[in-house]
Symmetry: C2
Subunit: 359 residues, 2 copies
């Protein structure tokens, strides 16, 4: 409970130097404090504690280190042009964290109390929120099973903790479009699996493939699924296609929440914005590489982009697939640019919006 929160604040000599905004590599710098809440099956949740950033003491037999009983979330806080700090839709991230916790056999918790604790952590480290409208404070709630026992079984001890990282643009190339490798031999998730969960287990297997794509000169993997090569996700983002359908109507297409993809908060927000605009069709449906290629050949493809918390929106310049390189056009005016501007206006308080929550 937030009312039980214990605060151990850094002494002045424990404070760390803050990096330049220009040096903000994603996830490399951490702020001065962290939040921890421990749990065990007998006593339930302990009091939340904010304390100086420190190493964790883990038994080498801790379940998280053997069976990957771990999950995380990613959300951001922004310093508005009006000087106010805002969180973006933290309720959505906490709801997803709870559903992942359930699937991971980790305990659930009170999302509202957790948001209050996270807000307090950000207040304490508020000077770490970049004074910049291209940077932000990335918030990483993490939840791990800590009991020291090698049985493959539900955990009896766990630790939920929250780290904060000042971050610049996710891709070092900034808003520059990225090139994708689409190779159906690699499959990220599958029906009956956990692809819709933000579990650590979904990430480890992707890193080797990501490296393969880099060796071939691409920046990210476009994950396909099934004999018909359905598009699912791109790297760690949801994917959007803006195109003319066969009737010549403009259509924003993104794969459905069928269990294969992560239900992204940015994905949801872009869909909600587009549906509010009512300027083009907005469709959640399965889309295959054959359809993409046909649309490409018929010059009906207007734009492809990824969407996620880390990058917000990231345009795609090309897809390498079955020995061919497909260059993806970029419509003018660019829809991804418009989304980015709309989201940024909300993030940085240029417009008032219920998604931006005061800290």
């Amino acid at each position: 409970m937030f009312s039980d929160l214990e605060e151990k604040i850094c002494t002045p000599d424990q404070l760390r130097p803050k990096p330049d905004n220009s040096a903000l590599v994603f996830g490399k710098y951490f702020t001065d404090h962290m939040l921890e809440v421990s749990w065990d099956s007998k006593r339930g949740w302990a009091k939340p504690v904010i304390s100086p950033m420190h190493n964790l003491q883990l038994h080498p037999g801790a379940k998280v280190l053997h069976y990957a009983i771990e999950l995380f979330e990613g959300m951001k806080a922004y310093r508005g042009e009006d000087g106010c700090l805002r969180l973006f839709r933290p309720d959505k991230n906490m709801a997803r964290m709870l559903s992942t916790a359930k699937r991971s056999s980790l305990p659930t918790f009170d999302a509202e109390e957790m948001i209050k604790c996270v807000k307090r952590l950000i207040q304490i480290d508020k000077e770490w929120v970049p004074y910049s409208t291209t940077s932000s404070l990335y918030i990483r709630p993490t939840f791990i099973a800590t009991d020291p026992s090698l049985g493959v079984a539900s955990p009896n001890e766990a630790l939920l903790y929250v780290l904060l990282c000042p971050v610049g643009p996710y891709f070092t190339s900034g808003f520059k479009p990225i090139s994708l490798m689409a190779d159906p031999q690699y499959v990220r998730s599958w029906p009956g699996g956990c692809g819709a969960m933000k579990m650590g287990a979904n990430y480890a297997p992707t890193i080797y493939i990501q490296k393969q794509s880099e060796l071939l000169g691409h920046q990210q993997v476009l994950w396909l699924y099934g004999a018909d090569h359905q598009l699912t996700e791109v790297g760690t983002m949801n994917i959007f296609l803006f195109m003319l359908n066969e009737n010549g109507e403009r259509e924003l297409v993104t794969p459905p929440l069928d269990g294969l993809i992560l239900p992204g908060v940015t994905r949801l927000s872009l869909l909600e914005l587009a549906r509010e605009w009512k300027e083009f069709r907005v469709v959640e449906r399965t889309i295959t590489m054959a359809e993409v290629i046909q649309a490409h050949e018929e010059k009906r493809l207007l734009e492809i982009f990824g969407a996620g918390t880390a990058c917000v929106v990231c345009p795609v310049s090309s897809i390498s697939y079955q020995g061919r390189e497909y260059n993806i056009p970029r419509s003018e005016p660019s829809l991804s640019q418009r989304f980015l501007k709309t989201m940024s206006d909300i993030h940085y308080g240029r417009v008032q919006h219920p998604w931006a929550v005061d800290i």
Copy 2:
């Protein structure tokens, strides 16, 4: 390198009490010492160190805690009836560990040097190897990515460590047959994934399903794959079926190494033993639930059992599938019992065999 091994041995007051053999729950007790070897991308492997069992100090941003970059192995040492300590086929476990490391973007190492270090660790903790021919010393090599950076990318820092646990029979029911839940809505692995790798990521998603099976009164999950409900693995074991084929010939069937299942060392050993015996057909092939049910109805099913390092051999008493409970017979003489006896004779030095390696 083994020649660089540094040893920090417990002082007498650091030694832990050893549990009774009757109390040996799997993976609950750890010996006095552990082996650690750290790696970083600039300096490569550090010297291996054996030191008193201790907690790890991990940065809360360590990649293992977020993206499940972690893998493990499981092998055993046995105290022979002749008093000698033996390892069972450690070269096979180390080869699998290397292939998992590669797929996990973790560095490779010299398997023979690693086995020498593990042997030394066991020698130091040799009094922990149970004086029992139903118990053994479980060896848990573990390999985790430790660099404190939230980028989803190859690790630059890692730690390989080895824990030892005295263990009794894996299932508290001993060699008693177990009941299985086979529910095709849950899928453990899939083509294009990592089901053949001993990564932590393969285990976290199974725990919730295992709990579901327990709530329904079963002991383990029989993992199915595909529209035709192929049998893949049972719990954390490979699966074997001993049956009469449609020509009335006795046949030992186990699913093939098609990427969906773990290439078990016990699986390999049972196949090699059976092929040496030349008493019945030995077949690695896909087998579906429809075939199992047909064989069950035609009374051609002789025995089903799981095989793995933790349990060696574990007979199956029943399978719950699509609303029906199929009782699995047990042939007399029992093949699983024969396998267990043959393996135990090798493990405990009752026969000389090249698979049992002196420590």
